[in-house]
């Protein structure tokens, strides 16, 4: 198991954002969390990357208990997140943002970094075009690409993607999912949060459905995608 989440509870003040959730991600998998607004998906992601303190439960990564590890130490282990709302460094250029992605990489001075940069530019030519533009002046979708590119630059073992398709054009959404599949096939484990559930389920090995802070269902991507109840609630069957 690369990631094991056990009985996790997280609060915002009195609000219990997630209650006793347990799930795991195997090395090499794509696992998706789906759920309505406010179900606690983002909170789960933030907790895994250490941005939210844990009230109860534990998070294990690669066999190591990281429940209380400070967030900035986790990228060193190989956890990288593309946060919801992008979180680009608005005052830095696109290039500097991408370089920030390598901040915690032990091999940040090696030529491998250059290769990765080329790869990101290949995936998102717009970023190459605009490598000297301030991230804050990029369009919403461009910033989303940048956030994803930055996460890729970290060469993580576990990539956390929080709604990577938000604000992207339909054509690009396809591409994003292709990219996710591709980097996964190259060995990166992915934990994905998506509103675009149909696409996400199709491409993931397993998925969990989160509802008001609890996991209410789990299964393989295909099974869930075929489940009529899931279809009705999350896949945009006719409402």
């Amino acid at each position: 198991m690369l990631l094991e989440v056990n009985g996790l509870c997280v609060n915002y003040g009195r609000i219990e954002a997630i209650r006793d959730i347990t799930f795991s991600v195997e090395e090499g998998e794509i696992v998706t969390l789906i759920g309505a607004n406010g179900a606690g998906k983002t909170t789960t992601m933030k907790t895994i990357s250490g941005l939210r303190p844990v009230r109860a439960g534990s998070v294990m990564f690669d066999g190591k208990d990281i429940t209380h590890m400070p967030s900035h130490e986790r990228p060193v282990l190989g956890i990288s997140q593309s946060p919801e709302g992008r979180g680009c460094f608005v005052g830095m250029t696109v290039m500097e943002n991408l370089e920030m992605g390598t901040y915690a990489r032990p091999d940040r001075k090696s030529p491998a970094v250059k290769k990765d940069l080329e790869r990101v530019f290949e995936l998102f030519p717009r970023l190459k075009e605009r490598s000297n533009q301030a991230a804050g002046s990029m369009s919403g979708g461009e910033q989303q690409m940048l956030a994803m590119g930055r996460a890729l630059m970290a060469k993580p073992k576990l990539l956390l993607l929080d709604e990577p398709s938000m604000g992207l054009a339909p054509k690009l959404i396809q591409q994003i999912f292709d990219i996710v599949t591709e980097i996964n096939s190259q060995g990166t484990t992915v934990l994905l949060v998506e509103q675009n559930a149909a696409q996400a389920l199709k491409r993931s090995h397993r998925a969990y459905i989160l509802e008001t802070g609890e996991i209410v269902r789990e299964g393989t991507g295909k099974d869930l995608a075929a489940d009529p109840a899931v279809k009705a609630a999350y896949l945009g069957g006719d409402v």
């Binding site: 309505a36 607004n37 533009q133 369009s139 919403g140 979708g141 054509k171 509802e211």
Partner: protein
């Protein structure tokens, strides 16, 4: 909805509440006539041409979709229309008159209101106060009338409060009137943004990706909301990437790519336009919905 899932409190609106724009003076065009014209607008940021000789117009009473790939210039277009940026060349005409170098707040007073791609509420004010700020756009109470509680002040406060409560009621936010904006759930915040924009009694309401981060069920609700808003007498300009929503709600669509207009027409026309498919929709369209 299947009983397998608890009944999620998907945003419920009260479409029957009357929230028609307050008559705030000035000329009003008839239904179906040109409300706003974007006329040959070009905008450059250094080397980047964000808008390149873009022209289109919005008719009174319609829902116009503005779509295009990321970075095509849609948000920039909003920014030009609301006075955030001055176009390098060309201009915007509203009710037949150029906007010129008007300040942002003056344009709002003329009747153009907007929401933001990233939510920008007044986070530490209550929902009601957020909406009241919008209502205040057409008020003129100053220090003097507030200090002496002149009749003008009292009338404006009373009317403003009534309208703000109506808007909250309409959006289904009445119960949250006294919550701080920053404590509202995401969906409520999106709706509060719309309420705040409506509070300025705009002729034209510009929505920038209002459905971002919504799931299909929520998107369907939003679609309904947008229609109701139009039916109450507003004209709506909508930026959105969700094709189902755009196709379902708009009367007409303008497509931008690399700052240029590449297509314009009814949803059906645009959907089948090969240039739009190539630039924006992608081939595997059925999959995207």
């Amino acid at each position: 909805m299947s009983e397998a899932f608890k009944d999620e409190p998907v945003m419920e609106i009260n479409p029957d509440v009357d929230i028609a724009p307050e008559p705030v003076g000035g000329p009003i065009v008839a239904e179906g006539e040109k409300l706003l014209e974007v006329d040959n607008v070009t905008l450059r940021f250094g080397g980047v041409v964000a808008l390149n000789e873009v022209s289109f117009h919005i008719n009174k009473g319609e829902i116009l979709g503005l779509i295009g790939p990321n970075g095509a210039g849609k948000t920039t277009c909003f920014n030009v229309m609301t006075g955030v940026y001055q176009p390098t060349s060309g201009g915007v005409r509203y009710l037949g008159k150029p906007l010129g170098k008007r300040k942002k707040f003056q344009i709002t007073k003329l009747g153009i209101a907007r929401t933001f791609q990233n939510i920008r509420l007044f986070a530490n004010m209550t929902a009601l106060e957020n909406v009241m700020v919008g209502v205040d756009a057409h008020h003129s109470t100053g220090v003097g009338s507030a200090m002496f509680r002149l009749p003008k002040h009292r009338r404006e406060e009373a009317e403003g409060l009534a309208r703000a409560m109506e808007l909250l009621e309409f959006m289904g936010l009445r119960g949250k009137a006294n919550e701080l904006a920053r404590n509202l759930p995401y969906g409520d915040q999106r709706r509060l943004e719309i309420a705040r924009a409506l509070a300025t009694s705009p002729q034209l309401l510009c929505l920038d990706e209002p459905a971002a981060g919504f799931n299909p069920a929520e998107k369907a609700k939003l679609m309904e909301l947008i229609r109701t808003i139009r039916d109450q007498g507003y004209t709506v300009l909508l930026i959105e990437h969700d094709m189902k929503l755009v196709m379902g709600v708009t009367d007409r669509i303008v497509v931008l790519e690399f700052g240029r207009k590449i297509a314009e027409g009814s949803p059906a026309e645009v959907r089948d336009n090969p240039a739009v498919i190539a630039a924006y929709l992608g081939v595997d369209e059925e999959d995207a919905s």
